[in-house]
Subunit: 242 residues, 2 copies
DNA sequence: AACATGCAAATGTATTAACAATTTAAGTTT
DNA sequence: AAACTTAAATTGTTAATACATTTGCATGTT
């Protein structure tokens, strides 16, 4: 490692040192919790005052890259953000891209009468016929979620659409409605007889139930969706900004 | 305004000055874009060296509360207009919004070693001591959620804070950290022995587990939070805009 | 072995000092 | 009036120095 601190440069020393430290802490000898040389030595080696060195390292400490401890020394913080960040986000994105990462184990459509809850959300009378789409979805290890979707009659779905395509693509491209708002409710329950059979789990195994109330940009109701997830195989992940 | 800088106090001068500045910039004469007294004068008035004053104001500048300009002066930053939506809240706020009167059934703090998962999120070494806050919360019908919170050591919590106050109020007002981002994971499990005892439910009853990874506006990790909810008594609701 | 003491090492705090760089305003020249 | 020059004001940079505080270890004591 060559230390190139240029006292005649227009760039302030502490800025140069800051950059130097940033590359320094990437070196294998320091990378994972390694201790930096002590301040007095490092300052002398760089030909700068201890104050200037601290001016630089203060910033890195504030950023959480360095951890200084009185009486002990200064070490490099462990940092591996990317791995677990991706881990949390990945499933959310899969969820958001509806249908992309899953296979449809089975698929079924029928016309049913709207129940009270759905009629209320759709703002229609309870006797109205609506399209119900049932899907069992999973991956190589078998099914892990059972979905029931109900669609507002105004959309114009017939039930003969190719539902192996992503649902929202069908809605947007073929029917020109844009799912924009989703109100979600999550709860946990024990699997009922019928649910356990569908998901091939034991009756009484925990199931995560997600209801979605989906609306368009004008806040008009489009879809009511209920999903039954095998709890052991599902983690719901969200990123929220305040 | 009375300046009370105590040279004999065990609290470092720069820390005292920092607090002083924080209250100073709330004053109407400085509040929105007002110029602070120049460094030399202010330092003299406070009876401290200019460097010490700068040590304090540096931090506020880094936080975006002060704007310094060479040759001009130091002014208080204009209050940021909040554009982001208040989409998530602390538990206290959540419950208050819903009108649920809850109580802290029990509350306990202790210092523990960070485990691998937390250390990774906090970007600290696994041996580091961190503050753990355990809370059992409920209402008239008994407890319905057990929380475990772990806090980044950088925040400076001692464990002696009054945790009957809203947590995020403590963090923001007393420790000047702003929880801004939350990464959440939800899953459902059957209650373990210990969990069932805490929540006074039968072992094997379904439990909704919510993990939160909370960060500040600079994406620096602040808190890891894990909550065990009695599934029957809890529904998680969220509105998402695409 | 357990505990207490003390020393050395390392960062933390604080002061003083001097000069550099930038901006604003005033003054001067064209 | 416009352009240039100068000076003052204010923050930015850097250094040297001294002492405080915390931690860990070595040493000694019980």
């Amino acid at each position: 490692m060559i230390f190139k601190i240029d006292h005649s440069s227009p760039i302030p020393l502490h800025a140069q040192v800051e950059e130097l430290l940033r590359s320094l802490i990437e070196l294998p000898e320091y990378k994972n919790g390694g201790f930096l040389p002590k301040e007095v030595d490092l300052a002398k080696k760089l030909g700068i005052s201890r104050n200037t060195l601290r001016q630089a390292s203060n910033k890195l400490e504030y950023e959480g890259l360095l951890i200084r401890k009185k009486g002990v020394g200064t070490k490099v913080a462990q940092k591996q953000v990317t791995t677990h960040l991706n881990e949390w986000h990945s499933f959310t994105q899969e969820m958001n891209d509806k249908g992309v990462a899953f296979t449809n184990v089975s698929l079924h459509t029928e016309w049913v009468k709207a129940d009270k809850k759905i009629a209320s959300f759709f703002e229609i009378s309870p006797e109205t016929s609506i399209l119900k789409l049932s899907r069992l979805r999973g991956d190589d290890d078998g099914p892990f979620v059972f979905f029931e979707s109900y669609f507002h009659p105004k959309i114009g779905l017939t039930g003969n659409e190719d539902f192996s395509r992503p649902l929202y693509e069908i809605l947007e491209k073929d029917f020109h409605v844009i799912p924009s708002f989703s109100n979600e409710r999550l709860k946990a329950r024990l699997a009922s007889e019928i649910t356990s059979k569908r998901l091939k789990i034991a009756k009484g195994d925990p199931v995560l139930i997600r209801e979605r109330f989906v609306s368009d940009p004008g806040n008009r109701p489009l879809e009511y969706n209920k999903g039954f997830y095998i709890a052991e195989r599902f983690t719901y992940t969200i990123s929220i900004k305040r």
